[in-house]
């Protein structure tokens, strides 16, 4: 297996709410270029906070320590100090794209889809918009361009969200529970599509999910979080086959029981 | 309580608003202690003195100390404005909540009433009211309230229309609770934030209206003087006795700015807390 140069490395990230408890402690991990890394963990363990920290989306009330290294195309490394206010402006959208669970809900209801995509492209041209929509799996991009947000189904809206996230041609994509509201068929389609895009463009994906079933097909690496800390990480297959932490083990046990129609 | 104060103080708009308003309030409350010179007492050999250490804001045409007049005037102006704001908000909220919650013909009648009030030219209304009503604190408060209650009614109605579609209101309906109960315990508490911010901004408007009325001679009558009354006296010799118009005018402007800042800050805090 070739060792890929990590495109994103997080060193000793700590996040705490001012005057209150720590939310994330000692977060250290790296994303190999072109891979998909999944983060799992129970609600409230800090997965979403981590995503927001990587994009500088936490408010002023949060105290952040540690640093983030982004590998550039020319081999150099850009170091980002998350505590700095403007550290992320060049990064957001350009180097790191974002798709949250609520992203489809944040579509401007007063603008057609095509217009909203156009507003995000550095060089807005019609063929680029069409290419973007085709990339996320729309067979009739022209129709979608003229649609209003409320005319889209859940799955379609999620794919538009994906298109918007990819509009800036980022190297890294962070998706946070993007398919929780979708049913199993739409969910599978979404992750298949994501995988295809990754193979075509070399995108590195960081994915937060609590759907164990999708992991086996969608992720290369797995990070397990519990109470604000990373308790396990490694190649997805190995973690799932030999879970070290009790929390991982219990998750797998529940999933296995469900699959076999038994109560865990 | 102190936690609320801390949160409010941290907001920049609120902080400046309070910095402006608290001294004004304090001065009004302190009243006689702060301004030992009797505001009514005329001193005809001290007519139209420029500001000095004795008379901090100078004297007016009857030799009355302007500073004391202004301090006393704050009680009147603020007293009238705050009372009118309270009345307007109470009435407007009740009406808006009922209209938004019950909809149908009730909504129709109430909103048409609002439209009628809004359509009435204000000056005409003032003259009409001034002609028919006796002046006095209560009457003035009612007149002032009638000028501004419509805005609150509309705002509350709009909020109510939104809130009633919320899932928790539907859940309460599913429980079988009576409409009155739902309006009282599910809708109203979620309106309070908006109403408070609206009220604060309203006070600024009312101060201006009250001052304008007094300026025109319709509001507070002598010897009780609100800032507007004092301002109108400044008209007589605006250059020579500049201190009368300037100090009273400044006070009005600064206090209104203070309430607007406070209101904007409260609105920011309310919006943030919703996210």
């Amino acid at each position: 297996m070739t060792i890929r140069q990590p495109i994103l490395t997080v060193h000793n990230l700590n996040v705490a709410l001012q005057g209150a408890r720590e939310i994330l402690s000692d977060i250290n991990f790296a994303l190999p270029t072109g891979s998909t890394t999944a983060i799992i963990g129970e609600s409230g363990c800090g997965k979403t906070t981590l995503c927001k920290a990587l994009l500088g989306l936490l408010g002023r009330k949060f105290l952040i320590n540690g640093n983030i290294e982004l590998g550039n195309a020319d081999g150099t490394i850009a170091v980002i100090e998350p505590a700095e206010a403007n550290a992320f402006t060049a990064v957001r959208g350009r180097r790191i794209g974002l798709l949250f669970q609520e992203t489809p809900l944040t579509l401007n209801p007063l603008l057609r889809i095509g217009r909203q995509i156009r507003d995000l492209l550095p060089h807005p041209e019609q063929p680029k918009i069409i290419h973007l929509l085709e990339m996320v799996g729309f067979t009739d991009p022209q129709k979608i361009i003229n649609c209003w947000p409320h005319e889209l189904s859940g799955g379609q809206a999620q794919r538009v969200g994906l298109a918007l996230a990819l509009a800036g041609r980022p190297d890294i994509l962070i998706v946070d529970e993007p398919a929780t509201a979708l049913d199993s068929i739409a969910r599978r389609d979404f992750f298949d599509r994501l995988r295809k895009i990754q193979i075509e463009s070399g995108l590195t994906i960081l994915m937060v999910t609590h759907d164990l079933h999708i992991l086996t097909v969608a992720a290369d690496r797995l990070i397990v979080m519990f109470a604000g800390q990373i308790v396990e990480q490694g190649a997805c297959q190995s973690v799932l086959e030999q879970p070290a932490h009790p929390y991982t083990r219990s998750l797998l046990q529940i999933d296995r029981a469900f699959r076999n129609g038994r109560w865990p | 309580m102190s936690r609320i104060f801390n949160i409010v103080w941290k907001n920049r708009n609120c902080r400046w608003g309070l910095v402006i308003l608290l001294p004004v309030f304090f001065a009004g409350m302190a009243g006689g202690f702060l301004a030992p010179i009797d505001p009514i007492r005329q001193n005809l050999d001290q007519v139209l003195q420029a500001p000095s250490w004795r008379y901090l804001c100078g004297t007016d045409f009857y030799g009355r100390d302007l500073f004391s007049r202004l301090v006393n005037g704050s009680r009147i102006t603020l007293g009238l404005s705050l009372s009118a704001a309270l009345l307007a908000v109470l009435g407007g909220t009740l009406l808006g909540l009922t209209a938004g919650f019950l909809r149908g013909w009730v909504d129709g009648i109430m909103m048409r009433t609002v439209d009628v009030f809004m359509g009435f030219p204000r000056l005409f209304a003032v003259l009409l009211v001034a002609g028919f009503c006796r002046t006095g604190f209560g009457a003035t408060v009612i007149v002032l309230a009638l000028f501004v209650w419509m805005e609150t009614a509309r705002l509350v109605r709009a909020e109510t229309l939104t809130i009633r579609e919320a899932l928790y209101v539907k859940s309460a309906t599913a429980l079988g609770l009576s409409k009155l109960r739902i309006a009282r315990t599910y809708i109203f508490p979620n309106l309070v934030g908006t109403v408070i911010t609206n009220t604060t901004l309203l006070i600024g408007t009312l101060i201006i209206i009250e001052s304008s009325l007094s300026f025109l001679g319709f509001g507070t009558q002598e010897p009780a003087a609100s800032w507007g009354t004092i301002l109108s006296q400044g008209r007589i010799d605006p250059i020579g006795a500049w201190w009368i118009a300037v100090f009273s005018g400044l006070l009005i402007v600064i206090t209104v700015i203070g309430f607007n800042l406070l209101g904007d800050g409260l609105k920011q805090l309310h919006d943030e807390s919703k996210l």
């Binding site: 609600s43 979708l182 699959r259 129609g261 | 899932l167 539907k170």
Partner: protein, 262 residues
């Protein structure tokens, strides 16, 4: 659990629900589709019936119609023999309670949860006794006592869902409509809630209408399944039938995607 009688508690006949126009544009151009298109089914007292299908297939519209929040364009709904309409819904409301996917939005943000649950208790009980009853209900759904004075925003998603459950029990519901009640939580919490539901149902003899797109949870909780697609029921049967021998292509696909072994 054996179903003792075949008393049909809920009967839905030829229900039609049309899409509510959400904007001016919807009203201008002709909207053809129906959210629910001539759907008929019955729920037997004591059973758990699952409505399964992709998002937007009409499941939630059915729930809203039964709860009286949407006026159907056609068809009728009968509960315990009584037709549900504007006149009767008031009296029958307490017996049919919903549990929504977004438990946070289903709770009044300005109300402490002890009070929210207490609102379900029929009037007439003195305050002291009411509190005791609320605490008892909280215990039954697994909520710690100290949350009595907590606000919804101070609680986790799983806890909020328990509050909604306690509220439904407080009002004495016998029929619960659950619209994706678990999907917002991760599976360790889901399992806890599922167990709670299963135990409460057994203890209180509840009837459940479970709306979900997650076949693995449906499999454990439901007795019968109705598979819906674009407003119509395409297949129905017992849980074992549908999961091991799905007849329609769509049902087959759903089972396959769920990754469960028959």
């Amino acid at each position: 659990m054996e179903i003792q009688t075949t008393h049909t508690l809920l009967r839905v006949n030829n229900l039609v629900v049309e899409y509510q126009p959400r904007s001016f544009f919807d009203q201008v151009k002709p909207v053809v589709s129906r959210a629910v298109d001539q759907v008929s089914f019955g729920v037997i007292k004591g059973e758990t019936l699952a409505l399964v299908g992709e998002s937007g297939c009409g499941k939630t519209s059915i729930a809203m119609a039964i709860l009286g929040f949407i006026k159907p364009a056609g068809g009728e709904i009968h509960y315990d023999g009584v037709e549900l309409n504007e006149l009767t819904i008031g009296k029958l409301r307490p017996q049919i309670q919903p549990l929504f996917q977004d438990s946070g939005s289903a709770l009044n943000p300005q109300m402490k949860i002890g009070r929210a649950i207490g609102d379900g208790i029929p009037p007439g009980l003195p305050a002291g006794q009411k509190r005791i009853r609320v605490l008892e209900l909280m215990k039954n759904v697994g909520l710690p006592e100290n949350l009595y004075d907590a606000y919804p925003r101070q609680m986790s998603g799983g806890q909020k869902q328990r509050v909604c459950l306690a509220r439904a029990l407080a009002v004495g519901a016998e029929f619960l409509i659950l619209d994706e009640p678990f999907s917002a939580q991760d599976i360790s919490i889901q399992v806890q809630l599922m167990r709670l539901l299963r135990d409460l149902k057994a203890a209180l003899g509840l009837t459940l209408l479970l709306i979900s797109h997650d076949l693995s949870t449906v499999r454990l909780l439901a007795d019968r399944i109705l598979v819906m697609r674009t407003g119509k029921i395409v297949e129905s049967g017992t849980v074992t039938d549908i999961i091991s021998k799905p007849q329609t292509d769509y049902a087959c696909e759903l089972v396959r995607q769920a990754g469960i072994k028959p």
